[in-house]
Structure formats: C-alpha cells, structure tokens
C-alpha cells in the first residue's frame, strides 16, 4: 500500500552535500560542537599537564595570603589556607576526570556490548536483559554508592566503577532500542538476503545507525558521573582532603561561605561548564545523526532561489465566479520557505465546484494536490504559505492568505478527510467522545443531545453505532476508522467534503465500500465532493469532472468521459495510458520519462515540456495559458499542441 505521505516531499529540505562529510567533521562544523569539543580538550589537556603548567603546588599553604580574590599572583584567588585555587582546580581535575573516565568506560563497555547483543539477537537473552535492566534501574544509585564506599573503604575507583555499572543500564537501553529499530529496516533484510554475516551486518548497518545515540547517551552519562563524583567529594566521602578535587573545592567553599563567597565561583563554574560542554557535545552529535538518517524521501536540494513567481497569467481566469457555484477558488498560489527566499509550489489555481458535484483532483505526488486542499482549509503545514488566492463559498469571499479567517468555515462549510484513517483520529479519546465534541462545538448542545446525534451519524456511515461509540481508534480497522472520519467530517453539515486520498491506505475491497458510502451520502444530500487521488480508476468510479494537476498547476479540467476519450493535455493523456488495467501482457507499458520537476526548478514555459512527446520550441517560450475547447464543452487544457494527441486513450 502507498504509505508515504506526499507532504514531506514538498517541505523537507535536505542538504545532500553534507551527507558526504564524515560524521566527526560534521559535528565539528556545528558551532556548538566546535565550542564544546574545544573546551573539553583544553580542560582535559590542562589537567593532565597540571604538574607542568600549574603556578603553585596545590598543597602549599600560604597563611599570609588566605581568602584572597583573584589577582595577578593568584588568578583565581586563594582559599582559607592560602592555597592557590587555580592550581588546586588543575590538580583536582585529574582525580575528578579519572573518576569520570572510569565510570564512563565501564558504562560503555557493558552497555554497548549487551545492548547490541540483546537488540540484534532478541529472544530469551533480550527478555532476561530487559528484566535485569528494569531491576537495576530501580535501585537507589547514590545509596548503593555509599554502601560501596563503606565496604571498600572510600575507594573512589570502586565507587565510580559501580556507578558505571549502574549507569550502563541506561546506555544498554538506548543501544538495544536503536538496534531493535535498525534491525527492522528493510536494508538489513536486504543485507541478510545478500548473504552478509551477522558480524558484517552489525558493523556495516547497525553500529553506524546506533552510534549517534550511543555517543549522546555516554556524554549524558559522563556529565552525570562528573556531578556524582563531585558530589561524593563534596560530602567528604570521595577524595580525602587535603588532596584537591572539584567537589572537594566546593565543600571547602561551603566551610567559608560566610566570609569568602568567591570560592564558590571557580569551583562551581568548572563543574558546570564541563557538564554543559558534555551536554552541548551530545546535542551536536544528536543533530548530526538526525540529519544523516532522516532520509525522508523526495527532494534534497538546498533552498537557494529567490521567490520567483512563475505563473505570469494570474489574472486569466480571475474575472467572474459563477453564481451557482458552492465553492470557487481563484488565483491560489502557495510558496514554501520564508519571505525572502521562497519558491512557488502551487500557482494560479482556479476552479469551481457546483452543488452535488463530485470533482476529482488527480496527479502524481509532488504536484500540489494535497497542498491546494489544505490551503482551502487554512491548514498548510509550517514553512508553506499562501501568496495569493481568494475563496468564495456560498457567495462570500475569503482571502486564502489569511488562514485565520478560514477557521470558521472548517467543519461547517467544508469538511475534510485524510489518507491515513486511524492516525486521523485522536488515539487518546473514545470515538464517541470525539464526535460529541465536534457536534457540541458546532451546535452548542448538551452532552446527551450530542450523543444522540453522534449515534445517528455513526449509523449513517453504516457502523454499529452503539459499539463503535465506545471504541478507541486503535481498536478500529482502517475501513471503520475512515467511516468514523467521514461521520465526523459530516457532523457540522458541511456543503463541501474534501476527501484527500481517502482510500489509498485501504485494501481494494474496503476502498470499494468506502467509495460506495461516499457516493450514497452525496446522493442523499446536495453536498459536493472534492476527491483527491492518484488513481484514475477511483476518478472514473466516483467523479463527474476532474482537475489534472502537474507541478503545482492545473493542466486540464474536463468531464471524466471527455478526459478519457479526448484528453487535451499530454500529461493527462500519457498518465492515463500508463495505467496497467488495459495494458497487454508482454508489451512494455507506456511510460513518461523523467519526473515531476521540483519547485524552483521548473522550466520557464510549459512545466511538462521536458517530458513531453509532442512539445516544440514554442512550448518553452513563456507560460502557457489554459485553452478552452469547443462551445458545448467545459474542457480546458494548458497546452498549445492538443491537436497532436491521439484521439482516445482507450483506442490508442
């Protein structure tokens, strides 16, 4: 089933170039990544070389100059015994950082190994490990550390290794989760089918997938180990004074809190900044991983074009909107990006919808079908906005570029259903409750009255109302959920129902039922339907007229029989021909070479011309207008070579 949502194509912007850079390089190229790595390296090196670079011996007391603030002689001042604070920080860092390293190493080794094994191989071992992790993570960490300190006589090594062991469970959990997810990827299945060994699969496909989360988790763990290490020394249970440690320095500051609050500053800041750097480093790694692995699909070029409005005939059909139309759209254009750098995605859409009419909107993904509908609802996703457009609904005009003004129309004038039926329903509330809420929103009636109306609505969409009322969306099949969604969309008695690929995610037999349901509902009212689909069969089955969209433009409008018998635009014609229904076995299917051009990369003239089999030089000169055909027909197409097309798809 088609499961890929089209929206992502239009709004996701990936920087393909950046994938090519190595992982480390990319972390380094993030400002936060660079700053945090630099800081960490400087601190580690400085502490390691403390005996070379520290200005004083950390233990030398100088009672003549105690509790002094920063000065040239003592850059960070002196403590209550006159010892140089900077030197004590540098030397103290050694003990502290070694403790952190011990804990982190323990956590990494145990967590990564067991996590990979448990996640990749699963089975009883995974279940056992899961139990143990749950158990250990419920242990009171600090108290255990205190016991270890008692038992091993204030051995910091054993305390930090114990902390590493306890903390390895969090690492293990992350690694296992990542591995489990990676194992389900189809490229792992493909690798197995290709005969790669488990070791090869883990090294090539799994480890790169989980490396980012592992590094993030370990940097988080390291910062917690630092705080715990400092905390134990602060409690006087870690590194025994007078030997310096960062936590010990805070403890010493506490002793003289009344007289010399300055001492709190260097000791606290060094801990805080190091924790911060570890955290930022983790963030940078996480962002990098995210960019690397979000292969959402579709377009991958960087936005670099200025806003280029390519539709030069915005006013062609802007004149009169037919009186009888229930809904008219004029000059709708949608752009993506921000004001300064934006690019047209949909341009110059005009169409009318008459009462009781069923209009299909057809085209391949990336042509702007769904975006056009969302714009009418005022529901465009972030990063996309309407640059121009008017909506007339039952005689009243609304500006489409002001989504707020459209809020009042939703549900009452225009209802909409979507492609994914189950995710369209709020998983946290019962079906009945959700319908009640919509009804009460529109009619302001009591709970009891709303419930009655809900039950009636559920009956209208052929569901067992009393049973479905109490169900949660997760308990419904796709077909049932789509019926519920239809019922909800009808709750406010809208005059127009927009159905955006309502059956694409459903099995074909369920599709037939849902389409039949929509057909029955329309026949019993004067409601009009806009049906967005990529399936010509659905158009033929359901619609009176169809709009064919290509690269954000309407390229043809016609009644469906005219479209089938005399398609006037080569795109409609070729797309109909590519349909497998009537193709003969053994002969190659007619195809259209190339693909839909991305927004911002569309040609100057006809957008379809590069793929077109009948195009000429004239096609590339400038924007092509919509041309009408015949006196008694409403067929229009955006093509200057319609006569070159064979007469019928069916006969060709």
């Amino acid at each position: 089933m088609i499961g890929i949502e089209n929206l992502g194509d239009v709004i996701s912007v990936h920087d393909a170039e950046s994938v090519r850079q190595g992982f480390i390089k990319r972390v380094w190229h993030k400002p936060l990544g660079m700053i945090s790595v630099t800081y960490l390296v400087v601190v580690i090196v400085a502490c390691a070389l403390a005996s070379l670079i520290a200005p004083y011996n950390p233990l030398t007391q100088d009672l003549a100059s105690f509790q002094q603030g920063p000065s040239l002689a003592h850059l960070l001042g002196t403590d209550s015994l006159g010892r140089d604070v900077l030197s004590r920080l540098l030397f103290g860092g050694q003990a502290t950082l070694i403790g952190v390293a011990e804990a982190s190493l323990t956590a990494s080794v145990i967590g990564i190994t067991l996590g990979l094994i448990a996640g990749y191989f699963g089975g009883w071992f995974d279940r056992l490990v899961g139990r143990i992790v749950d158990l250990i993570m419920s242990l009171p960490t600090i108290i255990i550390l205190l016991s270890v300190i008692i038992i091993f006589n204030q051995s910091m090594l054993s305390a930090m290794v114990t902390y590493g062991f306890l903390g390895s469970m969090a690492v293990l959990r992350v690694v296992r989760g990542g591995t489990l997810a990676a194992r389900e990827e189809q490229f792992v299945a493909a690798a197995k089918v290709s005969g790669l060994s488990n070791r090869q699969i883990i090294v090539r496909h799994i480890v790169p997938r989980v490396a980012g989360p592992i590094i993030v988790q370990i940097s988080i763990f390291s910062s917690s180990a630092l705080v715990v290490q400092a905390g134990l020394s602060f409690l006087g249970l870690g590194i025994a004074p007078p030997a310096p440690s960062w936590g010990g320095l805070i403890e010493e500051a506490q002793q003289v809190l009344l007289g010399d609050p300055w001492l709190l500053v260097p000791s606290g800041l060094i801990v805080a900044l190091t924790v911060l750097a570890l955290g930022l480093f983790g963030d940078a790694v996480r962002d990098t991983t995210h960019e690397r692995w979000s292969s959402g699909g579709g377009f991958s070029r960087k936005l670099s074009l200025k806003h280029t409005s390519q539709a030069s005939e915005h006013s062609t059909d802007n004149s009169e909107m037919p009186i009888g139309a229930v809904l008219s759209v004029r000059d709708l254009s949608i752009a993506r990006g921000s004001g300064r750098v934006s690019v047209d995605v949909v341009s110059g859409i005009n169409f009318d919808l008459f009462p009781g009419e069923k209009v299909g909107v057809v085209g391949e993904s990336g042509c702007g079908k769904t975006l056009t509908m969302l714009a009418i609802m005022g529901l465009l996703p972030k990063g996309l906005f309407v640059t121009s457009g008017t909506l007339r609904i039952r005689g009243k005009n609304y500006s489409l570029s002001d989504p707020k003004s459209l809020a009042g129309l939703r549900g009452t004038e225009v209802g909409m259903i979507f492609q994914q039926p189950v995710p369209s329903l709020d998983p946290a509330f019962r079906v009945g409750h959700q319908l009640d809420e919509v009804i009460r929103q529109h009619f302001g009636i009591s709970r009891r009255q709303a419930r009655e109306k809900t039950l009636e609505l559920l009956g209208r969409v052929s569901l067992d109302a009393e049973v479905i009322y109490k169900k949660y969306p997760s308990e419904l099949s796709g077909g049932m959920a789509q019926r519920v969604a239809i019922a909800r969309a009808l709750a406010g008695n809208p005059s127009v129902l927009i159905a955006d690929e309502p059956t694409t995610a459903l099995d074909v037999s369920i599709q037939a039922e849902v389409l039949q349901l929509i057909r029955n509902l329309v026949e019993s009212t004067t409601m009009s339907v806009i049906l967005v689909t990529h399936d010509w069969g659905v158009i033929a089955d359901m619609c009176d007229r169809a709009l064919v969209l290509y690269a954000g433009q309407i390229v043809e409008v016609a009644e469906i029989s005219e479209l089938w018998n005399h398609a006037r635009h080569p795109y409609s014609f070729e797309l109909l021909k590519a349909n497998p229904h009537f193709a003969e076995r053994g002969k190659p299917l007619p195809t259209i070479d190339g693909r839909v051009p991305e927004p911002g990369q569309r040609p100057v003239g006809c957008y379809y011309s590069p793929r077109c089999k009948v195009s000429s030089e004239d096609c590339d000169l400038g924007a092509i207008p919509m041309v009408s055909f015949g006196h008694d027909s409403n067929q229009m197409a955006r093509c200057i070579h319609s006569e070159r097309l064979a007469s019928s798809v069916g006969e060709s």
């Binding site: 994938v19 089918v193 005969g195 959402g296 069969g537 089938w564």
Partner: protein
C-alpha cells in the same frame, strides 16, 4: 522429470500474538512451484500472508511446517552459512525504496552488497560490475558515489533491483516493489523488471496487492486471502475468468479508468452479488478461531453453511487452474449463464 527451480510445499507459518497462547496463522499449507524463467505473481490484500510467504522463502522468518526446495535442495531450515551461500541464487527486493537502502552508504556500496555471495572478486571487478549493473537498470554509472538521499523513490527502487540482480541469481522475490511509487514511475519499474528477466533469464516471484499490475508481469498468479491460497492459474485466466468468489470480489472492487466501462461494471457487480448481503461492511477483521471453515465465508456472497465448517482444498479444475472453493462448479455455471465472466467485469469492452 525436470525438477522445478523452486518448490514450496505445504508451507505453514504462525505468529504468536503477544502475551497470549493465541496463535495467528499467517500462512496455511501454501504449495506451489516456480519454473525456470517463470514469473509467479502473488496477489492479496493486507493480512493475506503474501509477504510472509516471500520472507519465508528468503529465510527471513522461521518456518513451522512444510518445505521450500531450491533446485531440489531443501532450504527450509538450512544452516546460517548455507543460507548465506544461497544468496547467490535467491534474492529479494522490498517495498519501501527509502528504507531499503542505508542512507550512510553510497549507492555503489549498497549495490556491491549483492555480490557478497560470490567469492574471489577484486575491488576493481566489483566496481566494474556495479557500474555495469547501474547502467542496466537505467541509472548513470556515476551514481555509484552518490548517497540515497540524492535520489528519487523510483531511482532508489532501481538501485535495490540492481543490488538483487547483480549477482545473477536464479530467482528474485519482489515484495510490493511498485506499491510506493507513482503511476508513471511504476510503469518504468515494471518495464525494467521485464527487461531484466529477459536479459538474465530470471525467475521472479512478484508479490503485490494490485491485480492489474501483478498480472502484467506474471505468467501464473496465486490469489491469497488470510493465509490461504484461494486460486491459482494462468495470469490471464485469473484476470479475465476468475472463479473464486474472492478473486471475483477483488477484481470487481478495483475500478477501471474508463468511466463508461466503470459505470457499467458497477451495476453489473451489484447484480452479481447477492443483494441481501453487503460485503461484510465494517465487519471486524477477526481471524477465524481455528483452521475450520473458509476464511472468506463471512464476506462471501456465495456462502452456504458448509463453508463455515469445511476448509476448502485447492482443487484442480483444469490443467492450469486451481480453486479453493466448495461451490466452484455452481459458480462457474452461474457465471457462464449470466455471461458475467470477463465482459461484465469490464475488461473486454464489447459493445
């Protein structure tokens, strides 16, 4: 007698639903052969077990009962090492072009993975073969150094196909390979598969939910429903003259793009159906509690009480046609009386 290339015998697989003893049959006693150079299509809706069948043949999920034989060798429960060697003969392509390729590896690295089972290839051999293969699937050999992120869905699916075919396997299992693609791209991929099949004399198992597409590439088709093979026959036979009520319903439910024919079909289909019965509208998709009875019976317009208690066997009704329905003879008679077959379902637009 010549052994078939692939022989699937009484294959059964169950999934254990979590936390309970309840076992869900995903595949029940599937039996069929694939000859050399032949394409077998497997059609079904979600939950039909068609992907389970494909994955079982590829060795991605364990098999509980039955056997899979390749060139006469039982490969149902082979050792890990043997399974890896088998990758030279049997390959797969999957549905989602995006998730099928590791985004951190180049196209070339991914395609080269298909050569894992072939020993003794040097680095330059591999590069040459990868470039040749990319050309074969209609991509530029230069794309070898690109990353999946830079390609479209259709191009990615070509890469997946290249990875499967590069080692010259004997059989490739294509699991819903065109389902995520747009119409024009879908046609390109179908044509590509046909071309490769001819070039490499491949056997294919083409799994899909869309009968009009599947029948185009297939010589023979299996129609599956809830883990059971309902009907098996020549592609045109299944498409134009189906006999199982489920196949009939499946074809009837899929609308055709000719509005005139579709309008006529809609009326005819309604007349073929028993009017007192809506096709189980909103009936919850509950699996049958045990192996008894036809799984389609609750939605079938030809159901009789016996259908509820008797699991239909896949019986031959002609040399090439098998149907698992106890009323198949009555249905055949009824359909030929009505003249429904083919013409009324709308595939021969007779006047």
């Amino acid at each position: 007698m010549n052994k078939p290339l692939l022989s699937v015998n009484e294959l059964s697989i169950s999934y254990r639903t979590r936390g309970r003893e309840n076992v869900l049959p995903a595949l029940r006693r599937a039996t069929f052969d694939v000859e050399r150079g032949e394409t077998v299509g497997i059609v079904g809706e979600s939950g039909s077990g068609k992907s389970t069948l494909g994955n079982a043949i590829l060795g991605l999920i364990p098999v509980q009962k039955g056997t899979v034989e390749l060139n006469g060798e039982d490969i149902t429960h082979v050792s890990k090492n043997r399974r890896r060697e088998l990758s030279r003969y049997i390959q797969g392509v999957f549905q989602d072009p995006y998730s099928s390729l590791n985004p951190t590896r180049t196209i070339g690295q991914s395609v080269a993975e298909g050569l894992t089972g072939i020993p003794g290839l040097g680095k330059s051999d591999i590069t040459d073969r990868v470039e040749m293969m990319l050309d074969q699937v209609g991509l530029s050999p230069k794309m070898r150094v690109q990353y999946p992120l830079e390609l479209s869905g259709g191009q990615l699916q070509r890469v997946s196909i290249a990875r499967a075919v590069i080692g010259s396997p004997e059989i490739v299992i294509c699991d819903e390979v065109t389902s995520a693609l747009d119409l024009s791209v879908k046609a390109q991929i179908i044509n590509l598969l046909e071309k490769l099949q001819a070039t490499y004399s491949l056997s294919l198992i083409f799994i899909g939910h869309d009968l009009p597409v599947v029948r185009l590439v297939s010589n023979r088709i299996l129609v599956m429903y809830k883990g059971l093979v309902m009907e098996e026959g020549d592609a045109d036979q299944i498409y134009h003259n189906p006999l199982h009520p489920y196949s009939l319903a499946l074809i009837a439910a899929s609308p055709v793009p000719d509005p005139g024919i579709q309008a006529k079909r809609r009326n005819d289909i309604i007349s073929v159906r028993d009017p007192s019965r809506t096709t189980g509208s909103a009936a919850p998709a509950t699996p049958l509690p045990d192996g008894d009875g036809c799984p389609f019976a609750p939605r079938c317009s030809y159901v009789i009480p016996d259908c509820m208690t008797e699991l239909p066997r896949l019986n031959s009704i002609s040399a090439t046609h098998k149907v698992a329905c106890i009323r198949v003879e009555e249905i055949r008679a009824k359909l030929s009386n009505l003249g429904v077959v083919g013409s009324q379902l709308g595939y021969h637009s007779e006047p």
